[in-house]
């Protein structure tokens, strides 16, 4: 890596924010140990960040609740106070969530799942492809054929329903390629039957649209 590349790629910020892969980090370290300008920026950046953390540690977080004194009341209703009620309700909610997870969600996730090999293409003529979802499974898979005009480090997949609301946004993870098959496991409950589209964008340019994929979700065992 040379200094111009480091500057253009905001390498100092990426390094300090721990956004590099191992290889990229080693490459930048090899550079700034030799480059006095980048060494200065990294050193001062690290000093700044450590002192910012130090200041914030001493400062109460926003929304910190000041202590409240309990109002005197009858013994019968003395437990009906926020400091008692709120944690109690939170415990009840937690118990309900854990029970649901143990009795419903985890068993569904532990069932074996046959993955579909069908690949959705962005070129769509005529009827959008139909994807049948087994509602007994928590997840279903979709595969997208991606052919981007250029390679990006990662991509964002934006799923919209027929009223154009975003139901889910998924990051592709590190790709760095332009053409690939994107395999996704998606939560079935977010995709009730209906028409959808997936809009593919580069992670670094969320306003740029690369490809659109239309598809229709149906419940398995039902005919449209």
């Amino acid at each position: 890596m040379d200094h111009k590349t480091a500057e253009q790629n905001s390498a100092v910020e990426k390094y300090l924010l721990n956004e590099f892969t191992t290889g990229e980090r080693q490459e930048f370290e090899a550079h700034f140990f030799d480059c006095p300008i980048c060494a200065d920026l990294v050193r001062q950046g690290a000093i700044s960040i450590d002192n910012i953390k130090g200041v914030f540690r001493e400062t109460p977080a926003r929304g910190a609740v000041a202590g409240r004194t309990a109002r005197p009341g009858s013994r019968w209703f003395s437990w009906v106070r926020a400091p008692v009620l709120v944690p109690s309700l939170a415990a009840l909610v937690l118990a309900a969530v854990v029970s649901y997870q143990n009795l419903v969600s985890i068993p569904r996730l532990e069932r074996p799942l046959v993955l579909s090999s069908a690949v959705l293409s962005s070129v769509s003529r005529g009827v959008a492809p139909v994807i049948r979802v087994d509602r007994k499974q928590a997840l279903f898979n979709l595969n997208f054929e991606v052919d981007s005009p250029q390679a990006y480090p990662s991509y964002q997949c934006e799923f919209r329903n027929q009223v154009n609301n975003i139901v889910l946004s998924v990051n592709s993870g590190e790709k760095k390629v332009a053409s690939f098959t994107l395999n996704l496991l998606l939560p079935a409950k977010l995709f009730p039957p209906g028409a959808y589209e997936m809009v593919l964008r580069p992670d670094s340019s969320p306003n740029l649209e690369l490809r659109r994929y239309d598809f229709v979700i149906q419940n398995q065992g039902e005919d449209h």
Binding site: V12, P36, S48, I52, K53, F56, R57, D203
Partner: protein, 227 residues
């Protein structure tokens, strides 16, 4: 945990410890350290044990080594051990091999030696394992485990700067650096993308740099005037 290289205790005992002086740590004046190029004369002075050259060498590379090492090692003691071992090995090679073929690449050589020290640390099967690639920064063990970069004077300057930032910028920095919240979640909450998050961090750090530089220059001048 004792590094395998520590078995060469006879070798290590002949070099002074490369710990910056108290003055350096409190009133580190970056202008004296920066933009330094390394030449044959500098290497010669290091080889001959020139105190000023060794002090500069320790200050210049000491910070960079800590920044590099703490992203890979959990324990402050391991970090310090690795830093000292790197210094010892670099000087050992310079003195026994009579210098470097390309003195201007001294930085790359220090970095390469540090990489080897790190590999040996990991291979020696330390209880304190290497951090995975995408692991968050190691959690501080407590308020007393503040970095050596933090001083009362710097915090005062930074506190003043933070008070002048917008609420949004201040909250972004808090969530990013103190709470170590996922960056994508921060971007979603504040409706910005990762590039723009980086830009905001860059601006905040640039302002911090100016404030800290000015503060340290003032402190150094005050100290010099007092002497």
């Amino acid at each position: 945990m004792i590094l395998a290289s520590r078995s060469c205790s006879a070798r290590t005992s002949s070099y002074r410890s490369f710990t910056p002086s108290l003055y350096d740590r409190v009133y580190r004046v970056s202008v004296n350290l920066d933009r330094h190029t390394f030449d044959r004369g500098y290497i010669e002075r290091l080889i001959q044990g020139d105190a000023e050259a060794e002090r500069h060498f320790a200050r210049y590379f000491g910070d960079l080594l800590v920044i590099k090492l703490r992203a890979r090692l959990r324990s402050p003691q391991l970090i310090e051990d690795a830093r000292q071992e790197t210094f010892v090995r670099v000087l050992h090679v310079l003195r026994n091999k009579g210098g470097l073929e390309y003195p201007e690449r001294l930085g790359a050589f220090v970095n390469a030696v540090c990489e080897n020290v790190l590999l040996e640390t990991f291979r020696s099967g330390s209880r304190l394992q290497q951090l995975p690639e995408d692991a968050p920064e190691p959690v501080d063990q407590g308020a007393s485990a503040e970095s050596e970069f933090v001083t009362r004077e710097r915090k005062a300057l930074v506190r003043n700067l933070l008070s002048k930032l917008s609420d949004t910028d201040r909250e972004i920095l808090r969530q990013l650096f103190l709470e170590e919240r996922d960056k994508d979640e921060i971007c979603r909450e504040f409706r910005i993308d990762r590039d723009y998050l980086r830009v905001r961090v860059h601006r905040a750090l640039a302002r911090c740099r100016v404030v800290l530089d000015k503060g340290e220059q003032t402190a150094a001048l005050t100290n010099a005037a007092g002497q």
